[in-house]
């Protein structure tokens, strides 16, 4: 048995992969990472083992691309004067912008585990396969990430109260 036609594979997984990348690398870089992910997959596709879990496989590649991307970004010099191309979006009152930033600030494994679990609703077995770790480690990373996000959220709320803005 060969893997399904790539067009079928792409159609079936494009939404979860995009969603995962949107959450891990953000809207500006999701497109690049998405293309890199599926091009890598296409290169390796004919050699794929027939019993491969395709969903876990593509998410593994996406996870790696997102991590590579984070490293590349860290090396990139920060522009001195950046002129925005459009006005900044109005801050959302429910704090989702801060939460998103907090998700992206998590260490790679925790970030990936949190997104796989709470954005993509994947079972821990699939998360473990995508991250290349045990199910237990996937659980621990999702838990640690989630706790950090909660703490960050509480910190933001405290700050808002202190500032008297609410």
């Amino acid at each position: 048995m060969t893997p399904p036609p790539f067009t079928t594979f792409l159609e079936e997984h494009r939404v979860p992969v995009y969603r995962f990348l949107l959450a891990t690398v953000g809207p500006n870089d999701a497109d690049d990472c998405f293309q890199e992910t599926f091009l890598s997959a296409l290169r390796a596709y004919p050699r794929l083992r027939e019993d491969s879990n395709l969903r876990a496989w593509i998410l593994t590649i996406a996870t790696r691309k997102a991590a590579d991307h984070g490293r590349a970004r860290a090396r990139r010099p920060v522009p001195v004067e950046e002129v925005p191309e459009r006005a900044a979006p109005a801050p959302e009152l429910d704090g989702t912008t801060e939460l998103w930033a907090a998700v992206r600030a998590l260490p790679p494994m925790q970030r990936a585990a949190v997104v796989h679990r709470y954005v993509l609703d994947l079972p821990y077995a699939d998360i473990a396969a995508a991250l290349g770790c045990t199910e237990e480690a996937a659980r621990a990373n999702a838990y640690a990430g989630r706790r950090k996000l909660r703490e960050e959220q509480e910190r933001l709320q405290d700050k808002a109260l202190e500032g008297g803005s609410r």
Partner: protein, 210 residues
């Protein structure tokens, strides 16, 4: 917290991921990572699925066949790197449109014969590709031209399994006993194509040949 994260699910990833997927196809072509291109072409005999490789047109299918199964067969027989790509197949679309508009009598497309079994079957199909527009031949004649004069029935089978109907004009092969005979893509299409080419009279409906 999981409720807060779920807002990302509401973001319109459908449209964004579709755009990104199209970009993947573009880049895949530029990097020569696509082995089989597929697209559909509208025609008076239904929406045609066409597939091409670097060697040429490899498959043409009528809508009676399930496209998902055809794609699976192509993945299995040729390569799983099957991608939807209308642009690469533009010449095929253009020539088919011209043919159905009555402006084209020969196809100038390269053919990839991989899906035609080597040997007698392929020889029959290659000979069939040489039958001129507007004329017909018989199963017996095709068998003879392919080197086995007594194998009319086998020639019929090879034509029935033609991977590239219309362009390899198996509709131009008819029984020696009269009538238009059978056709893998339903008889009404064979009749339509023969009428289009003027091989049978526009007005007759019993379809005697000439």
């Amino acid at each position: 917290m999981s409720g807060r994260l779920s807002w990302m699910r509401r973001t319109d990833v459908e449209a964004a991921s579709l755009r990104a997927a199209r970009a993947v196809v573009d880049r895949a072509w530029a990097s020569r990572l696509v082995d089989v291109a597929v697209t559909t072409v509208d025609s008076p005999v239904g929406s045609l699925l066409v597939a091409g490789t670097a060697r040429g047109l490899v498959r043409l299918a009528y809508p009676d066949e399930r496209s998902d199964l055809i794609l699976e067969e192509l993945a299995e027989a040729l390569s799983p790197r099957v991608l939807e790509d209308p642009r690469t197949l533009d010449p095929v679309r253009r020539e088919l449109e011209e043919y159905f508009e009555g402006h084209r009598t020969t196809f100038d497309l390269r053919i990839d014969w991989t899906l035609a079994p080597e040997g007698f079957s392929r020889r029959v199909l290659r000979e069939t590709a040489r039958i001129p527009f507007g004329s017909v031949s018989t199963y017996g004649q095709m068998a003879k031209r392919a080197g086995s004069p007594r194998a009319a029935r086998a020639a019929g089978n090879a034509l029935h399994d033609n991977p590239i109907p219309i362009v390899v004009p198996c509709h131009r092969v008819v029984p020696a006993s009269g009538g238009i005979g059978k056709y893998g893509g339903s008889e009404w299409r064979k009749e339509f194509l023969l009428r289009l080419e003027g091989a049978i009279e526009e007005t007759t409906d019993g379809a005697p040949l000439h």
